[in-house]
Amino acid sequence: MNTRARDDERFEREALVWLPDVTRFALSLTRDESEADDLVQDTFLIAYEKWDQFVPGSQARPWLFTICRNRFYRTEERGRRQVQADTPELESLAAAAIHASAQQAGLEQSFESAEVVRAVEAAIAELPDAFREVALLVDVHEHSYEEASEVLGVPIGTVRSRLFRARRLLQEKLLVHARDAGIGQRATGPDTRGTSR
């Protein structure tokens, strides 16, 4: 077997095995299957071209996600805005305060409903890019902080602060959705306001 064939075998084993994961990530980024198809194809063509730059023994999944993410933002020509986030600990504490309101709004009992899943999807899509991509990587595609740090090219501390801010923003958005949709009233029975005598 020549060198090229050996490299291709290794690409097959180490890179193409992640095709389903990269496809799901591309779908999350684009929210459009046709665009995701193009993005996945581009990702693997770039990976194949750069395969000699991939360090043997390192993880191919974060490397492929990095290519996919960079390709997506280049195609979209999206501005990479600077974002501010509070310290991760403050974000965690702020989220604790949201819990009480979420209970009142009946959100906690409705997390598995199709309606809330749709609301979660919409809320993620509305996040600023820097928060959205970290939420997608860690919360939706279950990367570790270290892997997300590698994909995004930022320190782990930045991953944590952006992730925790993203989660708090999502909870706030879902809370507004739950209140607007009257989820709590439905969860606790029929609304009898205005019917008492």
């Binding site: 090229r4 064939a5 291709d8 075998e9 690409f11 097959e12 193409l16 095709l19 389903p20 496809t23 799901r24 779908l27 999350s28 299957e33 995701a36 198809d37 996945v40 194809q41 693997f44 063509l45 194949y48 071209e49 991760p88 600990e89 965690s92 504490l93 989220a95 604790a96 819990h99 979420a102 209970q103 906690e108 997390f111 598995e112 809330v116 899943v117 979660v120 999807e121 993620i124 939420a135 860690v138 919360d139 939706v140 595609h141 279950e142 570790s144 902080y145 944590r160 992730l163 925790f164 989660r167 999502l170 909870q171 879902l174």
Partner: protein, 83 residues
């Protein structure tokens, strides 16, 4: 015996804990706290449900075989030799 963590410390590290990103000692300390703390338990449960809801938005491709074929065909166009 180590003193139990206070609620404030647990709240500050709850997401790291749920993400499995703490040292094993710290993970264990938080697990122990959550077993007995009636104040933190409901909050931890809420955050767990919330994180569970986020995973559910992961979408599958409607035709995984088609996208796999598209990628392989494109690679073959660049000389890829594995079929």
């Amino acid at each position: 015996m180590k003193p139990m963590l206070d609620c404030d410390s647990v709240m500050r590290q709850l997401w790291d804990f749920l993400d499995g990103e703490l040292t094993e000692d710290r993970m264990e300390a938080i697990r122990e706290h959550l077993k007995v703390c009636k104040r933190c338990q409901p909050h931890a449960k809420f955050e767990e449900s919330f994180l569970g809801a986020l995973v559910t938005v992961r979408r599958e491709h409607s035709d995984p075989a088609a996208i796999a074929k598209t990628v392989r065909d494109a690679l073959k166009g660049r000389g890829y030799s594995v079929s």
